[in-house]
Symmetry: C2
Subunit: 336 residues, 2 copies
DNA sequence: CTGAAAGCGCTAACAA
DNA sequence: TTGTTAGCGCTTTCAG
């Protein structure tokens, strides 16, 4: 009648069998007689028994758990990626331990350290801000899969990304096709994904012989970042007629800034984002964007991790997805 | 030279001390000589030692971990609540284990079961869909804090919520003040928060002698749910001139539906949401809404949980926050 | 099919 | 101060 939680030992006593038999029965081992199994299951449920994951993980020397770090829960695109990750991880009988570092490298590192203390068997990084060296250090301990970036290379790191340079070119080419020349770019800040998108912008502008109009305004991957940067961009004289914004959530902010300044989208200024955020599809936003297959990328990332887990000799995969232009209502033919 | 992870034992050997001394040193015990401590720390870092949380939790009989269930990662308001939860939990030296059940009761229950297997010491539910009986069952095992709902009552359950009935009244009263009479409500589906908001709508409509115009269209707490329900609402003849939508994300969907049907917000139809989603503040959405202090609620929920953890005799707190009308651009004076 | 025994990595008395 | 000794709850040989 102890107040503390029932253990496998209590269940055994109640069912009149030994500890080890309970352990076997609980894990569906075939070498338990139906009678014993029934007695054990009954005893367990009567007692409200719940297996202790810490003890199991200790004895088993495996946690059957994958650690997942996500950049920022405020951007709904990460929920889309997570959908894919969770589905895949669960289908392998593993649990996910989800943490976020709020876009801060030090916090990210601390959270990963904790994950590793919990003995996660693998790590999935859904956009991170830690240095490559730090990530590589972690990769010495467990297999790692990185989603949305392809630049970190290590034998124990798999990556799933889309070609950001190509995607950015797609965006600019679309704008050029619509007759825009004064196309500014609102960047996403100091990170590699941003750098690639900016690079794609520059390449495409050059190809279109628009070097003279190249204009990059530093922003951030947030609604507010996009808002502020768009205000800056609009203040130029002459003002741009089109904005390629580094991601969708910042594009939403940019639209706000444009409308606030009395201009309208897309009549006065065209806007194109990046990511394929589900919310962006709504008519009230109706955002033209470069979409990545987010959920699929999550799934592939998890799958690559398990491939490594199941066969450590197999080299880590690097998968590049194709970004796709989704033409909606925030881009239109240039007027003047 | 084993390939497996270094243990406290390896560290002890390398530092030339005993296992228990290492354990003490690692946990900043004052009863370790500076010399030993230095040697131990050096050995630990040379070996890349990382304490095994499973083993510690087993021996310690506490995990120093709180389980957090969140309804749906796709709605950014939960990130706002989580900010408060995480801050508070970390300040107590605990870790959070975050899971989501994708709005599905069975998945939620399975995830909580796992959390409990991991020996979390407390549970924070940020909107859930499980039955009260299920939640109460969990509350028999660990203290529980429920955020956004106040209806589940149990000695081991603390709640932090806003007064949804009052908030809904605020919304309707605002619309009435603007001269609207044909005010429809888009509900959030089959859950208690929705029920309360609908109840507040009905009360306020009655107070305003608008019973004849009462109209509730079943929706959901998602952008798509709001979109579809708004289409239905607009099909009525005469159509409503104002919509009180059960939450902000659904309101964004509703706006899309209205604009798509050729009407404009707020000139033809006023829209008011509920929650105070950060994104809604942007000019491009500029959503009038009833705001709850989300981050603060997260913090208070966690705080209530720790109060219980630290003093199990203290009764569970039930905190009700005040909802607040934020007047922005999606509501205007009724025309006809 | 079943039970006894050892041990996973760590903490916590208790001695020394 | 430091080392020794028991477990924490579970899995897993290895004999019956």
């Amino acid at each position: 009648m102890s107040a503390s939680k029932p253990t496998i030992h209590d269940v055994a006593a109640r069912a009149g069998v030994s500890k080890s038999l309970v352990s076997l029965a609980l894990r569906q081992s075939p070498k338990v007689s139906p009678a014993s199994r029934a007695a054990i299951l009954a005893a367990a449920s009567e007692l409200g028994y719940r297996t202790n994951a810490a003890a199991r993980s200790l004895a088993d020397r495996r946690s059957r758990t994958i650690g997942v770090l996500v950049l920022d829960l405020h951007n709904p695109i990460f929920a889309q990626i997570l959908d894919g990750v969770q589905t895949e991880v669960r289908s392998h009988g593993y649990s996910v331990m989800l943490v976020t570092g709020n876009s801060d490298p030090a916090t990210e590192q601390a959270e990963i350290d904790k994950l590793l203390e919990f003995q996660v068997e693998g790590l999935i990084l859904i956009s991170h801000r830690m240095s490559d060296a730090t990530v590589r250090e972690f990769a010495r301990e467990v297999p790692v899969a990185i989603i949305t970036r392809q630049d970190v290379s290590d034998s124990n790191i798999a990556t799933v990304s889309n070609d950001d340079i190509r995607g950015a070119q797609l965006a600019v080419e679309h704008l050029v096709r619509l007759g825009h020349t004064r196309i500014a770019h609102i960047s996403g800040g100091e990170n590699t994904v941003s750098a690639d998108r900016e690079r794609g912008y520059r390449i495409a502008m050059s190809h279109a012989k628009l070097d003279a109009h190249m204009c990059v305004v530093p922003g951030a991957f947030t609604d507010l970042g996009g808002y502020n940067a768009a205000r800056t961009a609009l203040a130029a004289d002459p003002a741009p007629t089109a904005l390629f914004v580094a991601n969708d959530i910042a594009a939403v902010g940019a639209i706000a800034a444009i409308e606030e300044s009395g201009l309208s989208v897309p009549d006065d200024v065209s806007i194109i984002g990046y990511d394929g955020m589900a919310l962006g599809a709504l008519r009230s936003l109706n955002l033209t964007t470069i979409a990545q297959p987010l959920t699929e990328m999550g799934q592939l990332g998890a799958r690559a991790l398990f491939a490594r887990l199941e066969n450590p000799d197999e080299p880590s995969a690097h998968t590049a997805m194709n970004p796709e232009l989704i033409e909606r209502g925030t881009t239109a033919v240039a007027v003047q």
